[in-house]
Symmetry: C2
């Protein structure tokens, strides 16, 4: 993108703000206090760490613009504040990037940039990569990580069928989150299972560990063995489902996003977990941040009597959307395959499977920060 | 607590709910759909894991009460639903515990049960324990963990002054959260520091890693050496500060809780982190869930022009409360001492220190779920 050229600066009559104009017909206003807070010079930001040295208390409450002008040769804004005659300078490109109006928020019920909602149509084009490519090629890794952010899931094939490979996958982009289930855990039919995941029963699509705060942002499941009948994995885009609900039944969407419910899990004498959150969490601005859904671990709803029936109707409406065939992609995991899900967005489930034959997965949790950081670092290196 | 005796049950005229009465003059209403969803029998909950086997779609939409009666000998409620004549039973104690009205929420701007807000007065009574007690005595451990939940911080003394002790403390109650800073990290003055924490500068009280999502719920700092002048640690109860702000300046509280701001951290080529959240996060019901505050890593605010000046005034008002002497406790960490903070509630800072002498801490992150789970397990074992 060409950097637009600063062509005009005007100080407001109260001297509390300025208006800038660029040669692409854009203009933007900035406050004196905001400019001072964000100065890029070495008195304001540590040159090494780029962290802010200033606190808000260091800025005079009555700060205003003494003067402001354009430096044409550097395409920058130079200015002096009053009181205390502090002077600094911003590149035009920086001001253009951070102008207040640059990232106007959509209306309530939106999702972050870089996210692409999906339904069954994605089945023909599942985001996947070979383990060899992810190990050898940072470009392939960046693409795969970007797909995890975009779709909330991705697959890997041709992985070794060896114990704890699932943690090694995480280490390629981030950090394992160890929990009471361990650094990684086996998912197969067990006698006296402490969790229904460790049986051969089908599992309704769900997010994992809603009884934990923070919920793990990422879950990985690596297939070591799969010769039982059934056991297909299914994925549903929970953000898409929430927005379908919002469109079809706004009352239900509002109920699920405005009441917190509790989830719980107890493994006698070992773990006793409980957390509370709405099924659909919105930011104050109305962005969909997270969905939680798990029939197995939902605690008794504690809601006012007059809300309960409507809430149950909303819960049912959401669950029914989640189970529509057109919402899901499904696949039969083979040994050496793995999927990762954004556990705060995409729900996963499995069909029941028969006792004849075996199905053995290993799972592992991680957080999104490490993955997003790795993606940002790779992207900075001009990998695409 | 004595278990109240069920003395009356009445089915509503539409048969969608019942009213129960106990012999302590309490009564409560329950819906048929809620009762069915929460049945405790082996068809509804797996006897081993206690997880729910039922999905909401398994419950008929038109479910209602066919009959309901009290079993006096078992002090329980027996009932049958229609359609499909499903019968089950609840102990009186369970219904009493989970009655909808049992946990009515306070008004907007409240904190969870078990939390005690504090200010400088706590300095005379800092929650602390010896490492030996925490290792040898589960009662002492439970008390210390309960203090972390209650006050959002606690201290340990008489720890070994050895590398990586800080991780071993976490392993006593939960799980380390590894990040780009490692499993644990050194905090001391460094040349070309990638973070201002690794200098001898004073640091305004702050929460750590606000540029990460999820933010680490717990931070530990273990002192290995401390013979520099200065460097005192200060703590401020961020929930208390938020409620002081709410009382003194409701407009400011509302501004800080209704707009998200971004935080960022970049360690060139290694990490590039960014997260967005309000400085004060409320649940939909108005519970204070989290505060974030960090002058070093706050990105330029991206707010509407007409909001910006008021938002800065609110930000200043909050910061000024955080720096009131009566809000803080401070102490000079000695070698072998450690403090833990609930990093989503309690802010920590340090005074600057001189180059003569040395100050060396090791830090580590963890999440609250493991700590709360350990506390719940110990409490179930009747430790107090």
């Amino acid at each position: 993108m060409a950097i637009p050229k600063l062509i005009d600066v005007e100080i407001s009559s109260d001297r509390k703000s300025i208006t800038l104009a660029w040669n692409n017909n854009e203009s933007a206003r900035f406050h004196a206090i905001w400019l001072r807070d964000n100065c890029l010079d070495a008195n304001t930001r540590d040159p090494q760490s780029h962290q802010r040295l200033l606190t808000i208390q260091d800025i005079p409450e009555n700060i205003s613009m003494a003067q402001a002008g354009i430096c044409e040769s550097r395409n920058s804004l130079e200015f002096t504040f009053t009181p205390n005659d502090y002077s600094s300078e911003f590149p035009s490109s920086w001001l253009y990037q951070y102008r207040y109006s640059a990232n106007k928020l959509p209306e309530n019920g939106f999702v972050a940039a870089g996210i692409e909602l999906w339904n069954e149509d994605l089945a023909n084009n599942l985001p996947r990569a070979s383990w060899k490519a992810l190990l050898d090629d940072d470009n392939a890794l960046a693409q795969w990580l970007r797909n995890v952010r975009r779709y909330g899931f991705a697959l890997i094939y041709d992985l070794p069928v060896t114990d704890n490979t699932v943690s090694r996958v995480v280490e390629r982009f981030g950090f394992v989150r160890t929990t009471n289930y361990g650094r990684y855990f086996d998912v197969r039919a067990e006698v006296n299972a402490s969790n229904l995941a460790y049986t051969s029963l089908g599992l309704q699509v769900h997010t994992d560990n809603p009884y934990r705060d923070p919920v793990p942002g990422l879950q990985l499941l690596h297939c070591l063995q799969s010769d039982a009948d059934g056991g297909e994995s299914t994925l549903v885009d929970g953000f898409k489902a929430a927005l379908v609900l919002r469109e079809e039944n706004r009352v239900a969407f509002d109920l699920l996003s405005s009441h917190s419910v509790r989830f719980e899990f107890c493994d006698e004498g070992k773990a006793n977990l409980s957390a509370k959150a709405p099924l659909i969490t919105l930011s104050p601005e109305g962005e969909i941040l997270e969905v939680r859904f798990n029939n197995r671990s939902t605690a008794p709803f504690n809601l006012p009597f007059d809300v309960m029936e409507d809430y149950y109707a909303a819960y049912r409406a959401f669950a029914e959307i989640l189970e529509r065939p057109e919402m899901e992609v499904s696949f039969h995991m083979k040994a050496g395959e793995l999927f990762i899900v954004d556990n705060r967005r995409v729900m996963h489930g499995r069909k029941g499977y028969s006792g004849a034959g075996s199905r053995h997965l290993q799972g592992c949790y991680a957080d999104r920060d490490g993955l997003y950081s790795k993606l940002a670092v790779l992207s900075q290196n001009n990998l695409t």
